[in-house]
Symmetry: C2
Subunit: 164 residues, 2 copies
């Protein structure tokens, strides 16, 4: 089963920016990574007029475009899928799933915490918090890693999740 770790944090804590630095550190170590972004507001990814959009509009529950180097799958869902459901239905051939958001999901979490946004962490141990990436001291029982030190975070993920 492909392991999952969720990166959570208050709004504007820089989760995407953090993952933009962490993912190359992990891929540089030879891991294939899947990134999952939670978008509670919905999104528009397809381009009106394109064939895939036309087939979706015609009523296809799932629309796929496949090329020699890349495949895109857009599927209707009847509920907000959990990470475990997403993994089962759509993900294969990677070593690790890192997600952004999914605070309520039952998966190990790493909080990205930046000073000046809130006084305390978003997560508690009840949220399955396993580490914090922060640019300031943080009150917590779990491991705190400097926000700029993505190498140490990759070490931690290797030990705690990939080789755990």
């Amino acid at each position: 089963m492909i392991p999952i770790v969720s990166f959570v944090g208050w709004s504007d804590s820089g989760k995407t920016t953090y993952l933009e630095r962490l993912i190359p550190e992990l891929t540089g170590r030879g891991y294939r990574v899947c990134a999952v972004k939670h978008d509670v507001h919905g999104f528009e990814i397809d381009t009106p007029g394109k064939d895939s959009w036309r087939l979706k509009r015609a009523g296809a529950a799932v629309s796929v475009v496949s090329s020699p180097a890349k495949i895109a799958v857009i599927a209707e869902t009847d509920h907000d899928l959990t990470l475990s459901e997403i993994r089962a239905r759509f993900i294969s051939d990677v070593d690790l799933i890192v997600s952004e958001g999914f605070k309520k999901d039952v998966q190990p979490k790493i909080e990205v915490f930046r000073k000046g946004i809130r006084d305390a962490l978003l997560c508690t141990a009840a949220d399955m918090l396993i580490a914090v990436a922060a640019d300031c001291p943080v009150q917590t029982d779990v491991r705190v890693i400097d926000l700029d030190d993505v190498a140490s975070m990759a070490d931690f993920i290797e030990k705690a999740i990939l080789k755990g």
Copy 2:
């Protein structure tokens, strides 16, 4: 196993337009349909600057955006996936996969044939041709259905593929 039928035909034979009429006929009968489009030239579906694009650019082999009503999965592939591989890795929870293109794939095929483009069909029986949707008489051993009669084509697909 979810059945697959490929719609093939010469360029400009109107495959997408045909599927735009056939899919509502099938969904109207209660079937959930997945549409797969083959794009040999590659495509760009993600929007530069968006989080999913940033995570993909950072090196994620697979990038997912999930919302309560819809999920999008964009994955790198090391080869042009067959329909059977696409089905195994990405498709669930539908009754039928209709694809456009994939002429070389080993799946049952229906050719869309429009007069004035070419003199003869693109496919032969060796291509697993099972029917033709045409707007003119066609030399073939398989069933020919009028291009405008998508109800009869849906009947044919029900009998030959969905209840076969």
